[in-house]
């Protein structure tokens, strides 16, 4: 959760699948948290996947991503592990050596995000959609990262929980380059970040 002065630069990025062009010659500089807003089907998820290094662009380049803390379109939690264990997976080597100590802090964070004792004892496969999403968001925040890439991180959360999650996100990410893709107007208001409008 360290803060850096990293700068994420997207240069003339294009992506097309067959004949379909998702985006073309996209250039962006992200040096602090921002909301990525674009119409459905524009290719936000694909853009985030390119930034995560999971997909190759058709042309163009990306610089300064570094280590990524991510919330994917899907929760991508290990179903057999508890919420706490899922988050602890991404601790850095030093933290992992004394993970019992960090697990307490993770547990406190999860409680702060509204997971109760019963939920904390369950394997992730038995958590509700909203509980999984909160766990996935917390995992991204606990990961040692230079950039945060968050794809609809508040899906399935009720407004009260979303506000708590947004407050934690704002507090934890500081000025780190962050791209948060969402259509949730309430979340956008709550975060108060600059909006990068695409498409």
């Amino acid at each position: 959760m360290s803060e850096t002065n990293n700068k994420l630069e997207i240069k003339n990025l294009s992506k097309q699948f067959g004949e379909k062009i998702l985006f073309e010659n996209l250039s962006l500089t992200v040096d602090d948290p921002a909301v990525l807003w674009a119409p459905s089907g524009w290719g936000k998820t694909t853009l985030l996947r390119i930034l995560m290094g999971l997909e190759a662009p058709t042309s163009g380049s990306v610089e300064g991503v570094g280590r990524v803390g991510a919330v994917f379109q899907e929760d991508r939690l290990c179903p057999q592990l508890t919420a706490e264990e899922n988050v602890a997976l991404v601790l850095n080597a030093e933290q992992y050596k004394v993970k019992i100590q960090y697990k307490e802090q993770i547990r406190d964070d999860l409680i702060q995000l509204g997971l109760d004792d019963e939920a904390l004892a369950l394997p992730a496969r038995k958590l509700s959609g909203g509980q999984k999403r909160r766990t996935a968001l917390l995992r991204a925040l606990w990961a040692e990262s230079d950039t945060l890439l968050l794809d609809e991180p508040f899906t399935g959360m009720d407004p009260a929980v979303m506000k708590k999650a947004a407050a934690m996100l704002k507090a934890r990410c500081g000025t780190k380059p962050t791209l948060l893709a969402t259509h949730d107007q309430e979340a956008i208001r709550e975060l108060g970040w600059k909006i990068i409008e695409l498409g």
């Binding site: 990524v68 803390g69 991508r76 290990c78 057999q80 997976l89 080597a93």
Partner: protein
């Protein structure tokens, strides 16, 4: 009555039925050389039980056959991982595994007798018979790993140990368990068959062969019963241990699947 209890009673009743058929057939034939009755076979087994040689033979054969199985487990895991990682290893191993699967065990035994001593034969044969089964099981498990979780592990740069515990083992262990269940039966059958042909002194296969040439059908049945029992006991023990490992990785519910 719950389903499990009902099933057990059904199996017990079926076993009693077939023992009755066996007893009746033995009585109808009336010649021990051709077919002993279950009572006679159990009587022979009871006579063998106090003999030190009986237990030494079990130790001799079990040690070698299980060594072959253990080597098969290790090799299949290493080779399957290598084949998943490097395409050329996959291509290199594909015909070998196909060949080992398709070749009759007797051909291997006779061929192997040229290369190794009779006492090591069962190690080699059980290893060879187990290898393609477990190789295929491990590869199936690796292939079933959740691609989305693998991407997650890549993005978060999870170290190998954590990837193994969180993503790979949960995918591989259930398939590996199923493979082991099959392979344990195969290794006993093929290992003893190798001993019957290689005739290492002090082995179960040697005892089976002696029973055959002395027309001691009772001993033949008794030893056969011992092999079945050993195979079943080792399978239960090994799978129980594996289930504990699966439960530790996947949680209790994963182990039940």
């Amino acid at each position: 009555m719950d389903k499990t209890k009902k099933r057990r009673i059904q199996i017990l009743a079926a076993s009693v039925f077939w023992l009755g058929v066996w007893q009746a057939a033995a009585a109808a034939i009336g010649q021990e050389v051709f077919l002993v009755s279950p009572v006679q076979a159990i009587g022979t087994l009871v006579e063998l039980l106090p003999q030190a040689e009986f237990w030494q033979r079990i130790g001799f054969s079990a040690g070698r056959i299980l060594l072959g199985f253990g080597l098969g487990v290790l090799s299949s895991a290493v080779l399957a991982v290598a084949a998943e990682k490097w395409e050329w290893v996959d291509a290199l191993l594909a015909p070998v595994m196909q060949l080992v699967k398709a070749t009759p065990v007797a051909s291997f035994i006779i061929l192997a007798l040229v290369w190794v001593s009779g006492s090591s034969l069962s190690v080699l044969i059980s290893f060879l018979m187990v290898l393609p089964v477990l190789y295929s099981a491990v590869r199936t498990g690796i292939g079933s790993a959740d691609r989305q979780l693998l991407e997650m592990a890549q993005v978060f740069r999870l170290p190998l140990g954590r990837r193994l515990r969180a993503v790979w083992l949960p995918a591989v262990l259930p398939a590996f368990r199923q493979g082991c269940s099959v392979a344990l039966g195969i290794c006993w059958k093929s290992g003893v068959a190798a001993e019957v042909i290689g005739l290492p002194d002090g082995s179960i296969g040697d005892a089976l062969y002696r029973a055959k040439i002395t027309l001691s059908t009772g001993e033949l049945f008794a030893w056969t019963f011992v092999i079945i029992l050993l195979s079943a006991v080792f399978e239960k023990l090994f799978l129980a241990l594996l289930d504990k490992a699966v439960a530790a990785v996947l949680g209790e519910e994963g182990a039940e699947k």
